[in-house]
Amino acid sequence: MSADNKNTQNDIILEVKNMTKSYDGHVVLNNINTTIRKGEVISIIGPSGCGKSTFLRSLNLLETPTDGQVLFHGTDLTDPTVNINHIREKIGMVFQHFNLFPNMTIKDNLMLAPMKVAQMPKEEASALADSLLKRVGLSDKADTYPNMLSGGQKQRVAIARALAMNPEVMLFDEPTSALDPEMVGEVLSIMKELAQSGMTMIVVTHEMGFAREVSSRCMFFADTIIKEENTPAEIFDNPQTDRLKDFLSKVL
């Protein structure tokens, strides 16, 4: 699953070039460069306020970079003439606070984008929703509303909703941070299965166990830059910078 041995151009899904983001002159991200290849599972760790989430949200342009480029299969998302909606279809996203649509049933949450965006016929969308709900183990909740689910169940639905558009890459923005501890496991196990199925994933997380065990590459964000980037084994067992050593001593 590691991308190291297939270094062809076709494998590159996302490319970030010289990306800078600042709010009112306050720099959050400073000249970030990285490449994300098909099949990679990338964990992003770092202290709070270091720009992890801003970086992740820039990848589907929920945040607009102040400077630099984000290329998806070579198409620059920051170009105003690019139809960002078409590209977002291929970049799934899971949020810390789930953001399920409370006015729709679970199944309708899953069917909305396939029907409205991908113009899928209703029967087909319904079958797709059923199979995705089965995959996350929530078939019995199809006709209930989001407020009747536990946090863990909501996040599993949110993952299924993002999968419904058959994305090429999935972005996870602290997917377990808002959960009660006993519900973290069910969400992580779904994510683990997803990684094993070959899905390209970028995960902002505080779950060091997940980062170490599941990801193929780990990025440590600090001081507005990617301070360290390496395999999880190297990051956790052989940290190079004092900043990372200090961070790990606090979270492990």
């Binding site: 929920l62 909606n85 279809e89 996203m93 953001n99 049933t105 965006v117």
Partner: protein
């Protein structure tokens, strides 16, 4: 859940019954209050007027003459009413000391109220004429020619005698059979609360002025069209071209001549003083007779029905227009709030909101009718729908915007991350939640709108309130028409509230276990 629902339902209807019962209780208090003694009469001649409180109809010659007393230091108060009947009602209740009004309608008032009397001494003599725009001297000359012809033929005298005097009803005016009407339409503005010159009978406007105008139209070979409106709007309507002439028992005064021209005079009348008659026994009509004369005689309930129809039509269409305007503006404004785009559109929306919310609805209605559509012949219902719709749109816009802003930003981020466009996100995700949140505030706005339409009478529309007013002007009974109209508004609002409560509960069903 089922049990709770049915219990709640019964509580609702019990509350409704309680409200209606309280309404009837208040009404019966009003009934008994009517029978109680009012103050003794203090005005016995013109000399008694200084220092008293005098009722007049706004803009009439009585108003103009009595206003002189206001400024002479005698502490005379003038109360100006929109209708003569309202002034008479206030006199009966002792709120004012005397009413100064034209002699003929005064006679009609006194005939209908045996506790009132007219002082023998006349207040002032005056000549009636029709008002006409200063820029329309061609029509003025033709009308004067017609008027002189009618005087010479004795037609005018016959018309007046048909309404006044012992031979009343014996010489009705009938249009000649061979009239050809190729010269267009003569539009006459009037205020049909001024018996016997102009008043409602059997659903149409009749009276001396109206028959005379018909005779003039016949002579000129024109169709006659009558527009009923408030008395103080008649001159404005003629000035702005809404009507060709105003025939409303109008006296030529210097003040009026500044703004408008007059035809030759067609009759002489006098302003008289109505006071309470201390010797008379209290009015004898019991509630049943009043009800009969207010609603059943000559199918007078039809005025209420017709008014109710217009009120509902205006309210529903204006609400729809308000929703459309409100949603468009709310989307522009919330888009601006969130993204900073649409600066110019947002600026224009802000102007609209400030102007509409910063001026009274009635003033807006009058501006739209007399200024914006001043020279256009347009259906008044459409004018009212536009005015109330544009007004309501401003309030709906802010309500809906607050609803949109109350939805967590994560909702639209989630939708956009799935590839939904801004519009799809709004329609499928944001609006359904926003509308549910603001439904109580929106209901409230539509209740306000329904009641606000009661000012439609100012542009001469027969809405529910004016329907009651017409009956009031015929029967000179204020209580039952007013209470009846109030009851109808109350019932509509209660039906609307119940319906929205049910809708709200259905929308909230996904939030309950």
């Amino acid at each position: 859940m089922q049990r709770m629902n049915s219990r709640r339902k019964s509580i609702l209807s019990a509350m409704h019954i309680a409200i209606l019962a309280m309404f009837l209780l208040v009404s019966s208090f009003a009934l008994t209050a009517c029978g109680s003694k009012t103050a003794k009469n203090t005005v016995f001649s013109v000399d008694d007027i200084p220092g008293k409180t005098i009722g007049v109809q706004l803009g009439t010659t009585g108003d103009i003459y009595v206003s002189d007393y206001e400024e002479d230091g005698s502490n005379t108060k003038v109360e100006r009413f929109n209708k003569g009947a309202d002034a008479v009602q206030a006199l009966k209740q002792g709120k004012i000391d005397a009413v100064i009004i034209d002699s003929q309608p005064a006679q009609a008032f006194v005939d209908a109220n045996n506790d009132l009397t007219i002082l023998e001494e006349e207040f002032v003599e005056e000549d009636y004429a029709m008002c006409i725009s200063k820029s329309n001297s061609a029509l003025k000359n033709r009308i004067n020619e017609a008027l002189e012809y009618l005087k010479a033929q004795g037609t005018l005298e016959a018309i007046i005698n048909n309404y006044i005097g012992e031979n009343a009803g014996k010489t009705p005016y009938v249009s000649p059979a061979n009239v050809t009407r190729n010269n267009g339409t003569l539009t006459v503005a009037t205020n049909a609360y001024f018996s016997p010159y102009e008043y409602y009978e059997g659903g149409s406007i009749v009276g001396i002025d109206m028959d005379m105008c018909q005779a003039i139209a016949d002579y000129l070979g024109m169709d006659l069209h009558i527009e009923d409106m408030e008395f103080d709007s008649v001159i404005t309507a003629v000035q702005s071209g809404k009507a060709d002439i105003g025939a409303s028992g109008m006296t030529v005064t210097e003040e009026r001549l500044k703004n408008i021209d007059f035809t030759n005079t067609y009759t002489t009348a006098s302003q008289v003083i109505i006071v309470r008659d201390d010797n008379a026994s209290a009015s004898g009509a019991n509630i049943g007779e009043k009800f009969k004369s207010d609603f059943l005689t000559a199918n007078r309930y039809q005025y209420i029905l017709k008014g109710l129809g217009n009120t509902l039509l205006i309210t529903v269409c204006a609400a729809l227009l308000g929703i459309i305007i409100g949603f468009i503006i709310a989307v522009i404004r919330s888009n601006h709030d969130m993204t900073g785009h649409l600066k110019i559109a947002n600026f224009l929306c802000n102007i609209y909101l400030t102007v509409i919310r910063g001026t009274p609805t009635m003033v807006q209605l009058l501006i739209i009718y007399y200024i914006i559509f001043g020279s256009v012949n347009i259906n008044k219902i459409i004018v009212a729908i536009l005015a109330f719709g544009i007004n309501s749109g401003a309030y709906v816009a802010e309500i809906v915007r607050s609803g949109i802003m109350s939805i967590d930003i994560g909702q639209s981020e989630a939708a956009r991350s799935l590839g939904l466009t801004y519009r799809q996100t709004m329609v499928n995700v944001i609006f359904p939640q926003a509308v549910k949140n603001v439904l109580p505030a929106l209901t409230n706005e539509f209740i306000v709108l329904l009641k606000e339409t009661s000012i439609s009478g100012y542009i001469g529309l027969t809405d529910l309130t004016r329907g009651g007013d017409i009956i009031r002007s015929i029967t000179y009974d204020a209580m039952l028409p007013l209470l009846g109209v109030a009851l109808i508004y109350l019932v509509i609002v209660m039906i609307l509230s119940t319906f929205v409560k049910k809708l709200e509960r259905r929308l909230r069903s996904n939030e309950r276990r």
